[in-house]
Symmetry: C2
Subunit: 104 residues, 2 copies
């Protein structure tokens, strides 16, 4: 099982992934990381979600996310570990990479 | 433009679509309708979202929704009309039809 990152390790990891910050996960009520992605329109926003969903499913590690038209708010945390683990960092990096590919 | 339904018309329309209730839209801060769909797993939940997204895009009328693993919370409202319109009722019905097709 993935181990919860220390505050120090989390802070360091966040330094490498643009736009992600520490937040309180709504579901978990524990430490989590979050980012709000803003795209050109719904097509781009949902395209991003679809690609991220395929990766999340493959990792068996899923986001908590909210979509309103062109905006996607994402919160990542590892339920079993009660906080942020390496899995969240990997998924966050993958999401940034997908968002970068979006032409808008 | 779609016209906002009267409270009476909204209540009557909701009587025809299982599980939808009146809620406050977070984004609009005005009247809205909402439903929480619960599926078997993430695959089913995101499959539902994908089918609903294609319909929403075709209607050019989009949901406000939040997904956490097998759960999809949906809020519908028509921004331009400042409340619930026939568009929301149509999308709600379509979502119920899609959820019914899901084997789980």
């Amino acid at each position: 099982m993935a181990e919860r990152l220390t505050a120090e390790a989390r802070k360091q990891a966040l330094g490498d992934i643009a736009g992600w910050t520490e937040v309180q996960g709504e579901l978990q009520g524990r430490d989590a990381i979050g980012k709000t992605f803003i795209f050109k329109d719904f097509n781009e926003a949902f395209g991003f979600m679809t690609r991220a969903a395929l990766i999340a499913e493959k990792m068996d590690h899923h986001p908590e996310w909210r979509n309103v038209y062109k905006t996607v708010e994402v919160v990542l945390s590892t339920h079993d570990a009660g906080g942020v683990t390496e899995l969240d960092i990997r998924l966050a990096k993958a999401m940034n990479a997908i968002a970068k590919l979006t032409p808008g």
